[in-house]
């Protein structure tokens, strides 16, 4: 029996795990996008925060994902077994690319353009909303896209702490030493990642079309 037969025979379960997987990623991104973009904007305004926030996000990124999930379990309120812990971990993981790209995108806007905007009497909020964010949008969206694709992969590990998703098949397959079962989790996860990449790439082009 090959992996495809397995997928077809278990399609109901595959579908349910795929949905779980998608929901994990989607809920994490719903948290990570506003948080990451706001932090990225804050960094462009407050130099002192820069090294702290980028440093913290970098450190989080260097923690192996499996360890991060493990570390969070004993933390009160956000920890425990289940999808809440997984969503927190995925959010933390997704933050760095979003923060970094938001910051780099806005910092990369031609300083003369931003200064002209101020010189013409735009308020700081107007400069940000009407000039800096629109001009940085491509870079910000690229960060969101990278974060989403990474999250689809990292979310397979969520199964290790009981949050479900396609990682269930992968861990089960590893335990059973059964490649078919591993592939039954890995193939849909890979397809999800590719779909996320393509669709967000499309959205990116649509939104930044000049």
């Amino acid at each position: 029996m090959n992996a495809f037969d397995f997928l077809i025979r278990n399609r109901a379960e595959v579908l349910q795990l795929t949905l779980e997987h998608l929901l994990l990623v989607a809920r994490a991104m719903v948290l990570a996008i506003p948080l990451g973009v706001l932090l990225g904007i804050a960094l462009t305004r407050h130099k002192a925060m820069r090294q702290w926030i980028l440093g913290a996000a970098n450190v989080i990124q260097t923690v192996p994902s499996l360890a991060l999930f493990g570390f969070l379990i004993p933390v009160p309120l956000i920890g425990g077994i289940g999808d809440r812990t997984a969503i927190v971990a995925l959010t933390l993981y997704a933050l760095l690319p979003i923060i970094r790209n938001t910051f780099a995108g806005i910092a990369g806007v031609d300083r003369a353009v931003a200064e002209a905007a101020r010189g013409m009497g735009m308020t700081e909020g107007q400069v940000l909303r009407q000039v800096e964010i629109p001009l940085a949008l491509g870079v910000i969206l690229a960060g969101i896209r990278v974060a989403t694709v990474i999250s689809v992969g990292v979310a397979t590990i969520a199964a290790a702490i009981g949050a479900g998703g396609l990682g269930m098949y992968i861990f089960r397959g590893v335990a059973m030493v059964n490649n078919q079962v591993i592939l039954a989790g890995a193939i849909p996860a890979a397809i999800l990642a590719v779909l996320a990449d393509v669709s967000l790439g499309w959205a990116e082009r649509r939104l930044t079309a000049r």
């Binding site: 003369a112 002209a116 009497g121 001009l135």
Partner: protein, 269 residues
């Protein structure tokens, strides 16, 4: 010291210093003064040229007027009020600002660029639109053709015209222009200079115009203020500038005499 504006004096600088890395005073003895002890007045309706080499403090002086920078000491008065007493947003909307072509917003249409300040000021859409058309015609651009385009679809000279139209859109009494024609080819530049001269005479705005090009200064200025190393060397009526006694004036005059080759129009600051 809240002196009322002297007769006809729209902008006044009194003993203005500006140090790099300004803002909150820090214990940094080596801070470089970009503007040192500058005092000058700009009369209503005149075009005052700030002439100087790169790094002479011309652009800094301009930014001190619209409060993009605040003086480290001394004071800048606009319409009799210290810039630091003005609400910076209100102040800047009373002052048109034209810089080299980079100042147009690349993601806005020409119409939106020109109509920006009126829109910020809360004008209603039809009024903004009418004003945009009027301004584009004023600077010699066909509104039908140009309003819907983006800045990158225009030539350098056309973009600069848009920059002037944008600065004039809300009918500000004061215009600040920072080497507006510096990035243009010589023919287009000459064309725009001539048009600008007529426009300035017609509109009666108070204009502060920064350039390093002594020909441009002589052509457009009512008076010319020569800056060197952040200091004001002297202010002369444009007609008398060439006879100015200061050594720095003579340097500029020599450069003029040396012919076009000596005046590199691309040397920006």
């Amino acid at each position: 010291m809240e002196t009322a504006a002297e007769h006809g004096s729209v902008i006044e600088c009194h003993g203005v210093w500006y140090h790099a890395d300004g803002g909150p005073p820090r214990a940094q003895p080596q801070r470089r003064a970009l503007v040192s002890d500058l005092s000058l007045q700009v009369q209503r309706g005149e075009t005052l040229i700030l002439l100087g080499r790169s790094g002479s403090g011309k652009t800094t002086t301009l930014k001190l007027i619209n409060r993009l920078l605040e003086p480290t000491s001394g004071e800048v008065l606009v319409e009799g009020r210290r810039t630091t007493d003005w609400d910076p947003i209100r102040l800047r909307r009373r002052i048109g600002y034209v810089i080299q072509e980079v100042g147009l917003f690349p993601h806005f249409t020409i119409a939106r660029n020109v109509g920006l300040v009126p829109s910020l000021e809360g004008w209603e859409a039809p009024r903004v639109q009418a004003r945009v058309q009027e301004m584009l015609r004023l600077v010699g651009l066909d509104p039908e053709q140009f309003a819907p385009r983006r800045p990158h679809e225009l030539s350098g000279g056309q973009r600069q015209r848009v920059g002037v139209a944008r600065a004039l859109a809300a009918d500000p009494p004061i215009l600040l222009m920072d080497e507006p024609f510096g990035a243009l080819d010589p023919v287009t530049r000459a064309e725009l200079q001539q048009e600008f001269r007529q426009l300035a005479a017609r509109l009666g705005k108070t204009i502060v115009f920064v350039t390093h090009d002594v020909r441009e200064a002589l052509l457009l200025g009512t008076r010319i203020a020569l800056l060197a190393g952040g200091k004001l060397v002297g202010v002369h009526p444009a007609k008398e500038f060439l006879r100015g006694p200061e050594a720095e004036v003579k340097e500029f005059v020599r450069a003029l005499g040396a012919g076009d080759a000596a005046l590199d129009p691309k040397a920006g600051d």
